[in-house]
Amino acid sequence: MVEVKLVNVTKRFGGIIAVDHVTMNINGGEFFFVLGPSGCGKTTLLRLIAGFVTPDEGEIWLGNTIVNEIPAHKRNVVMVFQNYALFPHMTVFENVAYGLKMKRLSKSKIKEKVEQYLELVKMRDVMWRYPAQLSGGQQQRVALARALAVEPAVLLLDEPLSNLDAQLRKEMRQELKRIHSQLRITTIYVTHDQKEALAMADRIAVMRSGRIEQIGTPMELYRKPTNRYVAEFIGDANIFEGVIEKVGAGRMLVRTPFFVAECNHEREFKEGQKVTLAIRPASLHVERLQTKHEDTVPNKIIASVYDVTYLGDEEMLELCVRQKHGLKTTTIKALRANPHEQVALGDEVVIGFDASDVIIIPSDETSV
């Protein structure tokens, strides 16, 4: 189980900085995700670790060695490509055997390993076919077997599921998780799909414009995003700018133009400090308005229903909220699970939320 360490790694292409002073540690045996929108530099990061591009600055460590100058074919880091990159002129068997031949294993050993790993990905039946005769999902599995067969120190996966349909993707997620827990190879997985990352990762690095925004477990990223970008990228979020009005023990009061929020806090805050609040649509409770005075209480907002999207077992409401002392309005998204009470467009409602569900982002860290 080899750990991977990046120290201040930077890569430029012409005038564009693809990877900008990235520092991170990936533990041995970890299932590590790099998550970001397309063009954020995540694939370049992967290619730096693979050795297809060399960094302009910084160090890449595999275990106890700096590998900056070691060519890709000597790193024992294997990449699975988005388009699988199976050798079209070789059978499945020959594809999987390729890396083993490079290691100069004996014929019988190669045969044994090829069969072992094709078994692992359940592809032994198609051993003698050519890649063109396989479906996308099958090609994916063969590509994985080919990479795993060389027993790499680090496995790199570049958007491996993006070319599969929804059903297959779900299936392959399970497969990848199973295989990882079986082999415990340090794995770095690049994707733009936050659901994929949340569902599979031990830890996730969120990347934007070549930089790492935050690294943490899925829970940490969802519950405690350190900036607005991460809050909005991982899951959905309603964002409000506010000013701290009162700080108490473990609790504080934040005033926004639309409501006053009472929230929990772990860090030190000062009265008068500007903060950004993020509240997940799923943390909001929506009820029909009973009395007109309800919005004088903290954590309650009066709103009118602007749009309803029915999603089966849940519904997404878009609610229109007016400033307390002004004319501006904003919309708040609320997810109602298993809705019993029907709401119609134009209905007046009260939105409520718990103090523990308010995510506080200090405004100086806000990067939007």
Partner: protein, 578 residues
């Protein structure tokens, strides 16, 4: 089961069932029949006729004539020489084009774009015209010897007899003409290898050298094979170049000389059969290789080329520039020859004149042949575009049975050398209304049309394929009739392809060599190429006037290629691939 049986007993019922699963309408039937008739009569029939004459005697199958080829020492020498020639030309062409393709695809160096456009230049002249120029340079008292004498490398009184090495002259001239096409095929193969494939090999532990031998080379094999077979077939069946260099002991020249005895001597057909067998085997082989290696991966991006800066970049640029220079030497020689008054014992002409170029408008052979060539080429282009458009339409827009068979037949002329077709024509239309001895015009037009049909068809097909049927459906759902849709939506969109197809068909017809040499028997029927050949044989200013006509041909082909490349842009190179 019952249903099927009963339907096969009732032809009308069968027909109505067919028209349900395919959309067979009168127009499709007429088009298909017209094309089948045309190709059947002018492609299949002459080939079968030649094969029959070669293998059937008194109603019985015999290989006697065929065996005669190998027992007659002169013919056998011809066969051996042709093989040697084709192998040498192919080897030289492949050597040049492999290195060239690798440099152009995998590296970036100074002046690359300019050089890459220059590389297509050799194509604008049939090699046999270039050979006339080269002959001037290499003759005993020609430019090369006098240049060598001037710098003191040889004794002026004992010049080197370059032309005595006719074999190598033919090889070099052929290779210089063919390497651009071979290069384009190889480069296409090489640049279609996705970078991820090589990277995958690398991350699995393959060193650069192993990567080349296990991944890159096998994957570029289809292009290499296509290039090889194109080159080999061209060199093997090239009539013009050996004729000019008087390297006459080869199959094409032998066949050319047998035209007059075609009706009495079956060994001519046996030779044709031999050529046909060899070319079709090669063609089939290269098709198989390219089909077997179907690429399964989604193409994402090509392997990033390496930037060669400094001395190494300049050296590569210089080497390619030198190659271009040498490849353009025949052209330069033809141009110089056409304006030379005297060009003996000096590296460049001593005295210039426009007399020969002006002779194009006065000399009876030139004026007639220029007029003829325009007429033939325009007529054959019209036939090709008419067939090309309708066939492309039928194949892309209608569901008809035997689609792939039709496709194969239309592309077949690519595999049929000009000498084979022309010789077949002479034999099977002898004594009919189409007899070339009486009037060669119809057969010349037809042979040009048949030989260039694949190009015209391919251009039209690409056009139709590019225009999504949804556009046509959108037009019709907005109320336009099918005819109006075709006129207002489809045709305007595919028009660049049609013009390109027409331009190229026309240009190549203008410079069609082997069928022109064989079929045009009377001076009044001569096209440009035959006139060039006949003139080049004449003593006196013959070769000079021939060169002047060559210049005209170059001008026509060059301007056509410019038009085509303007219209097609980046897709232009695809035209030259197998």
């Amino acid at each position: 089961m019952m249903h099927r049986m009963s339907s096969s007993y009732h032809p009308t019922k069968l027909l109505s069932e067919l028209s349900r699963s395919y959309d067979i309408k009168a127009d499709v039937v007429i088009v298909t029949i017209a094309i089948c008739l045309f190709l059947g009569l002018f492609l299949i029939y002459p080939l079968l006729y030649s094969l029959r004459e070669a293998f059937i005697y008194n109603g019985k199958f015999t290989v006697e004539f065929f065996m005669l080829l190998f027992h007659n020492p002169t013919v056998f020498t011809c066969i051996l020489n042709s093989f040697k020639l084709a192998i040498a030309s192919t080897a030289l062409t492949m050597l040049i084009s492999l290195l060239l393709a690798w440099a152009m695809v995998r590296y970036r160096f100074p002046m690359q774009d300019f050089l890459s456009s220059l590389l297509l230049m050799p194509l604008i002249l049939p090699p046999f015209v270039g050979a006339i120029g080269i002959k001037q340079i290499l003759s005993r008292y020609g430019a090369l010897n006098s240049l060598l004498a001037n710098i003191g490398l040889i004794d002026r009184s004992q010049p080197i007899d370059w032309l005595g090495m006719g074999f190598w002259c033919v090889v070099v001239v052929q290779a210089l003409h063919l390497f651009p096409i071979a290069y384009l095929n190889i480069a296409a193969s090489l640049s279609s290898i996705d970078s991820s494939i090589e990277e995958a090999a690398q991350s699995l532990g393959a060193s650069p050298l192993r990567r080349f031998f296990t991944i890159t080379m096998p994957l570029m094999l289809p292009g290499v094979f296509a290039a090889c077979s194109l080159t080999f077939i061209f060199a093997f069946t090239d009539l013009g170049t050996p004729l000019i260099f008087l390297y006459t002991q080869v199959i094409p020249v032998r066949i050319f000389n047998m035209v007059e005895t075609a009706t009495t001597d079956p060994t001519g057909y046996a030779l044709i059969a031999l050529v046909l067998i060899i070319t079709s085997v090669l063609f089939a082989l290269s098709k198989r290789v390219s089909e077997r290696r179907q690429v399964a991966t989604v193409f994402v991006r090509a392997v990033a080329p390496k930037h060669l800066s400094g001395v190494s970049g300049l050296m590569v640029a210089f080497a390619i520039a030198l190659l271009c220079m040498v490849a353009l030497l025949p052209h330069i020689a033809v141009v110089l020859n056409s304006v030379a008054k005297r060009w003996v014992m000096s590296p460049v002409p001593d005295e210039l004149t426009f007399e020969h170029l002006l002779a194009l408008t006065r000399h009876p052979i030139t004026t007639v042949s220029i007029r003829n060539s325009f007429l033939y080429s325009l007529a054959s282009t019209a036939i090709d575009i008419a067939f090309g458009v309708t066939l492309a339409y039928v194949l892309t827009r209608r569901r008809i049975p035997f689609k792939s068979l039709l496709d194969v037949v239309v592309m077949m002329p690519l595999a049929i050398p000009g000498i084979v077709l022309a010789f077949g024509y002479v034999g099977c239309f002898f004594g009919t209304v189409l007899d070339p001895r009486v009037n060669a015009m119809p057969l010349l037009i037809i042979s040009y049309a048949v030989r260039r049909l694949p190009y015209a068809f391919r251009a039209c097909y690409a056009g139709f394929q590019q225009v999504s049927t949804t556009l046509e459906e959108a037009s019709m759902s907005l109320g336009a009739s099918p005819l109006r849709t075709t006129l207002k939506v489809t045709l305007p969109l595919i028009y660049p392809h049609l013009v390109t197809g027409a331009t190229l068909t026309f240009a190549f017809a203008m410079l069609e060599v082997s069928d022109s040499l064989i079929l045009a028997l009377n001076p009044s029927d001569f096209p440009i190429t035959k006139a060039i050949y006949v003139l080049s044989k004449r003593v006196g200013d013959g070769p000079r006037i021939a060169s002047a006509m060559g210049v005209l041909g170059m001008a026509i082909l060059a301007s056509s290629l410019v038009v085509a490349s303007r219209l097609l842009g980046r897709r232009f190179n695809e035209l030259f691939r197998a």
